[in-house]
Symmetry: C2
Subunit: 217 residues, 2 copies
């Protein structure tokens, strides 16, 4: 059965409505059901070979968010937004991780592990390429998650502020990510815009579609 | 005025419905209005500083798509899908590009160019960092575009297949991207799944949400 799809206009209106929220309403929290969907949208993100070389940390602890603020170039979104997500890579993905993924695939698809041998070999070969920087590859996948997150949140009417401007080693330290084998790549506070955020009404700057999309037909 | 938002359940249903489509119905084309919205979703993607270091090439030319197929590890989606998008970085983004962006911002926001001087300097400082690989930075932004594209297409009921598995230098050659100052990073055929694509009903493999999302509260 197909889901109920959304009219193209409605999708674009939501993407037009979104902007990098500079000032969040600190009193407005994202309802539980909506938040659960946002977490699901992260987990459902497609990735290279489906490997999901990531983890998402959701920080609601005030004290920890205050500590993170010190490493966020004074961007108060980190403390004022309803929820704060840190998008992290799983570091140094290796053959063992591929095997883990093959086991997970075999289980979900109720397929014999042997039937996945070829697929596992392809991924291992890909990772073993000497030109391959596995952590950069993983970081790129995390950017897909950010893109899906931005769109999903906007469609649900949730504001967000994608951030590269923070100090990843400090975040890793405060959150204890290094010991866990992760490294922070992106940060995204989510919640609802403050009534007085002037950026909400500042026109969005985009090069014209005619310059950014070229048709070869 | 706020747009009409979508219920969280409905967003998740669409993201669950999507999958990396292996077999497209070659006879079913994406309607013009829907396609226009997909192009808009690309252009509306957020990027680092809003710099949009990218361009999107839409190939509908059959002969060129046949040529690209040869450099796509035999993935027939490249020729069978309704539309084929190549997501490319703008290569070697430099200070001149920052100035161009500042001009565009001043124009859209009807602000004096001088008021953007500080912002421009921050971006130039960022790009001048010796640890900075500007093309890698641009490539990551393109992955955000892919993520937003995946979500937007799914919400509209359009199938897609995100692809890293192609030969970028060959694509660049066939499409003449190098002379234009671009380099292909990702490919995405879009259209409608074939009735017999067995992958449409293969269970989606994702690690459990409880493993992929950690709460710090």
């Amino acid at each position: 059965m197909s889901p109920t799809f959304v009219a193209p206009d409605q999708v674009i209106e939501a993407l037009q409505w979104r902007y990098a929220t500079k000032s969040f309403d600190p009193n407005r929290k994202i309802p539980a059901e909506t938040w659960a969907a946002i977490e699901q949208s992260l987990v459902l993100t497609p990735s290279s070979f489906g490997m999901q070389p990531w983890k998402f940390f959701v920080v609601t602890h005030d004290g920890i968010r205050q500590q993170l603020l010190e490493h966020s170039w004074k961007q108060r979104q980190v403390v004022d937004a309803s929820h704060l997500v840190i998008l992290a890579i799983k570091k140094d993905v290796d053959e063992e991780e591929v095997d883990r993924y093959m086991h997970s695939t075999a289980e979900v698809r109720q397929a014999p592990l042997e039937s996945l041998e070829g697929f596992g070999k392809v991924i291992k070969g890909f990772l073993a390429n000497p030109q391959m920087n596995v952590n950069e590859w993983a970081a790129k996948q995390v950017y897909i998650a950010l893109g899906q997150l931005m769109a999903a949140a906007a469609l649900m009417g949730v504001d967000a502020c994608p951030m590269e401007g923070f100090v990843p080693p400090k975040y890793d330290e405060v959150l204890g990510l290094t010991e866990k084998g992760y490294a922070s790549v992106l940060v995204c506070p989510l919640g609802y815009r403050a009534a007085d955020d002037k950026y909400a009404t500042t026109p969005k700057v985009r090069y014209p579609l005619s310059e950014m999309v070229e048709h070869i037909d």
